[in-house]
Symmetry: C3
Subunit: 147 residues, 3 copies
Amino acid sequence: MLELSTKTISLSTDGFNHIINITPQLEKFLRESDFVEGTMLVFVPGATAGITTIEFENGLVKDLKDFFEKLVPMNGHYYHNDTWHDGNGYAHVRAAMLKPNLLIPFANKRLCLGTWQQVVLIDFDNRPRKRELVLQLTGKLAFDGSD
Amino acid sequence: MLELSTKTISLSTDGFNHIINITPQLEKFLRESDFVEGTMLVFVPGATAGITTIEFENGLVKDLKDFFEKLVPMNGHYYHNDTWHDGNGYAHVRAAMLKPNLLIPFANKRLCLGTWQQVVLIDFDNRPRKRELVLQLTGKLAFDGSD
Amino acid sequence: MLELSTKTISLSTDGFNHIINITPQLEKFLRESDFVEGTMLVFVPGATAGITTIEFENGLVKDLKDFFEKLVPMNGHYYHNDTWHDGNGYAHVRAAMLKPNLLIPFANKRLCLGTWQQVVLIDFDNRPRKRELVLQLTGKLAFDGSD
């Protein structure tokens, strides 16, 4: 028999492709819950940010920023900017490609991540932002008599 | 105690990177169900289309088409075209990158999307297509005595 | 009433963007289970591999390798390489973009994939690797009296 639990966590970002390691918050949510086996959904509402996993070290963080800048330059021409004149068209394109969701399995009350693999939020927007991430645990509880 | 419900929805696309806002269909499925909290999976069977979220406005739709054309040009050389001679190798590469799935949390019977964030199907194929999307709700029902 | 089942499968890869069709293993896991309707999560722990779907034929496999090489060249400069000197910075960037997870619905005990759509692991690392993929089934069992 399965259960489900939803939580939101608040984050302040610097924008401008700020890459934030959110793994500690995910591990805390799991540790303080009664879930032992299942999946954790991580979702960032909004159209200018995304979620993925990386080895969170300074070199790779720079590489990833360089990659996105080369792929979708901040100062390129975007029709979206003609619509709203807020200059973050690049952020929308990057976020559409990276997508706002990630699903991670857990077992024995631990996220099934690799040793050097962390979960990160990337905020592509061109200003500091408050973000409210949605986390959802679905799975089996400890001491579930039905199992 | 959780339940699950599966539905397919049919869409006609123009192909050629047609970007379709499917948020109304997703909201309808949720509204007409008994689910109040959980996750909605959106999946497009087929290897030439993908699902993501964007702010659905004309400028950004153009930007996203331009982005994919620059990244994986329709008229580039693709070995896949040598295999089948149907000329949609570019569509396969784009779809492999964007992926056919998206998972969105919902709570209080509402999808946890940002104010300007819509869910879109992008059909990369080089002809009009019929698509049968699979939607799945997993979560808690209203008036669930066990909760 | 829903249930959940977790399994790991071991794969040996050649590294260097080895693309492996893992659909048979996924179908076997589903077939040998009691699940009839739900979702299958596929997740690869580690920061240098990803999961997606493609039409698995030689031409497209070549196209996809060419695409990643053009997008994130193996011999480019990566700060990550300055940190560890293991030369796989490119693999980390590609994996961050493709992401390690995929969620596939199933119904009537069959994965809802397109006729020509297979699930693949792409190992971007620059050496052969052992990978332990995590598979999770969530959904309804056959002969579930509560349904």
